[in-house]
Structures are given as structure tokens and as C-alpha cells.
């Protein structure tokens, strides 16, 4: 067992168990925290693959920004374990069976697959300069076109999030006061 292997297995164990924690924990706050841990473990995997940039971006974007906002919302809404609606036994059973079957299929396919064992010798593909080159040469179109996606998401934030101006007397009064 080299350090690499130890780290790999430890990180994998953390990732899987935390992912399970996300869906199994009753309290949404705990779920989010588990999810953050999962992201960390995955970032660890990136580092092991010498993809430090990806690791850090993963942390910045997911753990640092998205999950924080998630936490924000969940904490503000004060969701608790008892708020969560309980599904019927039958639905649960059906879910377990179908999910189990799907799991079995995937497991079987992965088990018999001739997946390549990851190359442990450090590659430079994850380094930022290489990544940048790939991103701006080979994958420039998907990279650029994603801006349309984000633009529409931003429009969405405004369209959905902003209040329609329905001037009731109460809001009019408040505006008056604030002036």
C-alpha cells in the first residue's frame, strides 16, 4: 500500500459514505454538509490525479459558492426533519426495488467492463495551462456557447426572482415612508 492507494481508498470511502449521508440524513442541513464533504473528497481525487485546478475550482464553485447559498436557503427556511413528507410504504418499496435493479445493472456492467485502470503516473492534463489550451482550442465552442446558458439562467433569476410591480396601498405607503 502506497500513500497514493491509501489516500485513494480513504477518499473514496469518504465520498461514498458522505453521498449516502446526503440522501439518508433526515435533516436538510446535514444533507448539505454531507454534500460539501463529498465535494471535498472528490476534490481530493482530483488532486491525486494531479488536476489541481479542477480540484480547487470544484471547491470554489460547489463547496464555496453553491453549497453556501444552499445552506443559506435551507437555514432561512428552517426546514427540519419533521417537515419532510413521508412517502407510503409501497412507494418506498417500489423505489427500493427499481433502484436496486438499476444498481444491479450498472454494477454488472461495470464489473464486466474492461475499464482501464487509471494511470497513476502523474499526467499534466489537469494543470491549468494545459486545461486552458484544451478549453480554448479543442473545446472552444462548448466553452463559449455555455455563455448562452448562463445568460438565460441570469435572465431567469430576474424574471422569476424580481417582484412584479403590483402596487397595493400598503407597498405604496412603505415606499412613501422610505422616501
Amino acid at each position: 500500500m502506497e500513500l497514493y492507494d491509501i489516500l485513494f481508498w480513504v477518499l473514496s470511502a469518504i465520498a461514498v459514505s458522505c453521498a449516502l449521508g446526503v440522501i439518508l440524513s433526515r435533516n436538510p442541513v446535514n444533507s448539505v454538509l454531507f454534500l460539501i464533504l463529498t465535494f471535498f473528497a472528490i476534490s481530493g481525487h482530483y488532486v491525486l490525479m494531479n488536476a489541481q485546478f479542477l480540484a480547487i475550482v470544484n471547491i470554489i464553485v460547489y463547496a464555496g459558492a453553491i453549497m453556501v447559498l444552499f445552506l443559506f436557503v435551507i437555514m432561512l427556511m428552517n426546514l427540519n426533519a419533521d417537515v419532510e413528507p413521508q412517502k407510503g410504504q409501497l412507494v418506498q418499496l417500489a423505489g427500493v426495488i427499481s433502484g436496486g435493479i438499476l444498481f444491479l445493472v450498472v454494477l454488472a456492467s461495470i464489473k464486466t467492463a474492461k475499464a482501464e485502470i487509471m494511470d497513476k503516473t502523474s499526467t499534466d492534463i489537469g494543470l491549468i495551462s494545459n486545461l486552458g489550451k484544451v478549453l480554448f482550442k479543442e473545446y472552444v465552442l462548448p466553452f463559449e456557447i455555455s455563455s448562452v446558458l448562463f445568460l438565460s439562467a441570469m435572465i431567469g433569476a430576474i424574471v422569476i426572482g424580481k417582484k412584479e410591480e403590483v402596487k397595493t396601498s400598503a407597498t405604496a405607503k412603505m415606499e412613501h415612508v422610505s422616501e
Binding site: Y139, P142, I145, G156
Partner: protein
């Protein structure tokens, strides 16, 4: 490629128009003009690309085959028709009219990507660009709780299916070591079949079934279509759905064609389930809007035929089906938004009050039901032809025909209500001469499609 750039630019123009133009009417006018311009650009794209040699763009990220460009043109035409028919109604949804149009432009950008992608990444981005504006449009009527519910439901389901799609793409990548869908074909066959590829195909199939609302992944459809503002339902159920189908077909036709023995049966069962669920449930609906939601599921079942039949006719089938279904459905929705009451009873006596409206609705419904001499017949004909040609699935064809007969039941209920029942339908907005003209044009298109389908088909 010009169309992709143009639609993005037009979307941005619309956004700025919202900043500078306060008059909703002129915004809608501008949007109509831009859609017409976009149609021009797609035609330009079409005519400047040679039929036989597809252009490979950006390291093979996109491939502009002739039929893709043709599909783009036709779908842009449908969007133009949509804007012409419904532009007025879009103004009524909410405050952000220019943003709605901008989002529709972005949806078209996704559509163009989906019709031309040659790389799974582009497919993924295309699907996302197609979906995210829809989540927003679904929730744009903020005074209506159902609209918000629709938006959230759509978003959650969409996100879920995206996750599955990504999983599938990952597994495929594991098997083929490339994202390029044409290279994938050879790589997956270089040695014995990799089970990872099969699992990946399964996942992608499930994800696409979500997007095209095929049973049993259709659960979101009725609620979303019902809850969303009717104008946007019309767009979602037609152009967007067709785009998802085209992408579905493209991937399965180009990449998984030779593996069809492995997945055809699964998809056939999905198709059968979709037809059954869509048609049978539609029978029991009381609201026409909801019925149309189920009918869109049922029609999805027919469009799946094109995917099932892995042959050249399928391309023609999907194109003609997409345009026939889109035009007719847009037409029906254009009539529907004019009414206050969306139940069948709301249509009672429409033939007496607005004979023209009733007549065009009848033609649209004929088309959806697949009566000859309307576009719907040719569409159904083509997809059936494709499957019959494939040869293995005669049972499914016969089943589908039985289901088509069931569909007549609920489509004709509207006709019965309009013509044979007495009542005074409440009209929510006056039917102007312009509306009538556009409806007649749409109706003429439906019939033209049924009589001379070759005008809408291209060489594949």
C-alpha cells in the same frame, strides 16, 4: 453556425430592447421582425451548405448536415408562426416581455445545437440551453401558483434527468474514450461490446425519455403543461419537444445504430407504454389544455417510432412529424388562448359564435388525429413507414394504430363540443382580422403538409 450566432445576438438585442423600449407592442413587433430575420439566416445557412458534404465545425463539435439545417429552418419557421400567432398573448403573461422573447431565442440556440451536434458535450449543452429557459418560461406567470409549481416541478425533473444523462455520457465515454458521436461508432466496435456502453445507452435513453416525456418518465408533463402559461406551453410542447426528439434520433441513429439489437426492444416497450398512457389518460381529461398535454405524450409515442426505426426514412419521419405536429398544436393553442374556459364545455357552441375558429380547430384536430389530407396523416404515415420498413415491430405498429383510433375519441370530443353542443363560449380576447388571417394561414399549412408533403421534406 450563422443561425447560432444570429439567434444569440437577437436574444441579446431583445434583452436590451427591454431596457430601452417600454412599449410591449413594439417589443413584440421587434421580436417578430427578428424571428423573420432568423428564418432568413437559417435559409441562408441551408442554401450555402452543400447537400452531400456536411461541414464539420470547430473540431467536429458540430456537423451541419443538410437535414439538420433543414430541420433548423423548419423549426425556425414554426417559431415565427408561433410568434405571429401568439405574440399578442405573450405580452399578457407578465412584465418581462422582451425577456420572454430573448429566452425563446436562446431556446432556438439550443435547438440548433441539438440538430447539429457531433459531440456529446454539445448535446449536453444544447439540452441545457433548451431546458433552462423553459423552466423560466413555465414559471413566468407569477400571479399564478400553478405556474410556479410547474416551473419547480419541471426544473426538478429536468435536473434529475440531466443527472442521468450525464451519468450515461460518462459511461459511454468510459466505453468509447471519446465524446465524438461519429468516432464513437467505430471505437465501440473495435473489440467485443463493452457493457459500459450498454449501460450508458440505457441511461441516455432514460434521460431522453424524460425530455421527450415518454412513459414512464412522463409524470411531469401534464402538470407542467397545464400549469405553465398557455402561450409558453404551446412552445414547449411543439418546437422544443421536436428538438429533443431530433437530438434523440441523431444520437441513436448515428452512434447506436449498429447496436440497435440491444436497445430496440427496450425502446419499443417505452413507446408502447407512452402510447398507452398518453392516449388512455387523455380520454379522461376534462380540460382541453390538459388533454393536449396528454396528447403530446401520445404524439411523443409516435415520434419515438422514428427513433425505433433505425433507417433513413426516420429522418424524414421526424422532420415531417415535428413540423406537422408543431404547426397543428401551435394552431390549437392559439385558439385555446382566445378562450376563457379551458374545459371541453368551454368549447361548446364555438361553431356558432366563431365559425372560422371552430373550422380551423377542426382541421388542427384532424391533423393531430391523423386524418388523411392533413399534415398529421403524412407524419404518422412516415413514422409508421419507417418502422414497417425496419420490419421487426409489426405488433407495435398495430398497437399504435389502435391507440391512434383512441386518440380520435378525445380529439373529436372538442369537435363535438364545438359543433354539436349548444353554449356560448367566453372569449378572453377579441379575435381580430389578423388573428383570423394567421389561423387560416396555419390551417393552409396543415393541409398543404398533408397534400404535398414533399415540399417539407429534404433529401436525406
Amino acid at each position: 453556425m450563422k443561425a447560432i450566432i444570429a439567434t444569440t445576438v437577437f436574444g441579446v438585442i431583445m434583452m436590451f430592447a427591454g431596457l430601452w423600449v417600454n412599449d410591449k407592442k413594439s417589443i413584440a413587433g421587434l421580436a417578430t421582425f427578428l424571428f423573420a430575420a432568423l428564418l432568413g439566416v437559417t435559409i441562408w445557412d441551408l442554401t450555402t451548405t452543400s447537400v452531400n458534404s456536411p461541414k464539420s465545425l470547430f473540431n467536429d463539435m458540430l456537423r451541419s448536415e443538410h437535414y439538420s439545417l433543414w430541420f433548423n429552418t423548419i423549426m425556425t419557421g414554426c417559431s415565427l408562426l408561433y410568434v405571429l400567432l401568439m405574440g399578442k398573448e405573450v405580452q399578457k403573461v407578465g412584465k418581462y416581455v422582451s425577456e420572454y422573447f430573448a429566452l425563446i431565442f436562446f431556446i432556438l440556440c439550443g435547438l440548433y445545437l441539438l440538430s447539429m451536434y457531433n459531440n456529446l458535450l454539445m448535446m449536453f449543452i444544447g439540452i441545457e440551453i433548451l431546458s433552462i429557459p423553459q423552466y423560466i418560461l413555465a414559471g413566468s406567470d407569477k400571479r399564478n401558483l400553478k405556474s410556479s409549481e410547474a416551473s419547480l416541478k419541471y426544473f426538478l425533473m429536468g435536473a434529475f434527468s440531466t443527472g442521468i444523462l450525464l451519468m450515461g455520457i460518462t459511461l459511454l465515454y468510459g466505453a468509447a474514450r471519446t465524446f465524438n458521436i461519429t468516432e464513437m461508432v467505430t471505437l465501440m466496435h473495435s473489440d467485443a461490446l463493452n457493457p459500459l456502453a450498454l449501460a450508458g445507452i440505457l441511461f441516455i435513453m432514460i434521460a431522453f425519455s424524460f425530455k421527450v416525456s415518454a412513459a414512464p418518465m412522463h409524470m411531469w408533463t401534464p402538470d407542467v403543461y397545464d400549469g405553465s402559461p398557455t402561450v409558453f406551453t404551446a412552445f414547449m410542447a411543439t418546437v422544443v419537444k421536436s428538438a429533443a426528439f431530433f437530438a434523440f434520433l441523431r444520437l441513436f441513429q448515428v452512434s447506436f445504430n449498429s447496436l440497435s439489437e440491444h436497445w430496440v426492444m427496450v425502446l419499443a416497450i417505452i413507446t408502447a407504454a407512452t402510447l398507452l398512457v398518453g392516449n388512455v389518460t387523455a380520454v379522461f381529461q376534462q380540460s382541453v389544455k390538459r388533454m393536449l398535454a396528454y396528447s403530446s405524450i401520445a404524439q411523443a409515442g409516435f415520434m419515438l417510432f422514428a427513433v425505433l426505426a433505425v433507417n433513413a426514412v426516420a429522418w424524414q419521419g421526424i422532420i415531417i412529424y415535428a413540423v406537422a405536429y408543431s404547426v397543428a398544436t401551435i394552431g390549437i393553442f392559439a385558439v385555446l388562448v382566445k378562450l376563457k374556459d379551458y374545459t371541453y364545455d368551454g368549447f361548446n357552441g364555438l361553431a356558432q359564435r366563431e365559425p372560422l375558429l371552430a373550422f380551423v380547430t377542426t382541421i388542427f384536430l384532424f391533423s393531430l388525429a391523423g386524418i388523411p389530407l392533413t399534415g398529421g396523416f403524412m407524419a404518422k404515415y412516415y413514422v409508421l413507414l419507417a418502422v414497417v420498413q425496419q420490419g421487426q415491430l409489426m405488433w407495435l405498429v398495430i398497437f399504435a394504430l389502435l391507440m391512434a383510433a383512441i386518440s380520435v375519441y378525445y380529439y373529436f370530443r372538442v369537435i363535438i363540443a364545438m359543433y354539436f353542443k349548444a353554449g356560448t363560449p367566453e372569449i378572453s380576447s377579441p379575435v381580430t382580422g389578423g388573428d383570423k388571417f394567421m389561423l387560416v394561414v396555419t390551417c393552409a399549412l396543415v393541409i398543404l403538409l398533408g397534400v404535398l408533403p414533399q415540399l417539407f421534406l429534404t433529401k436525406v
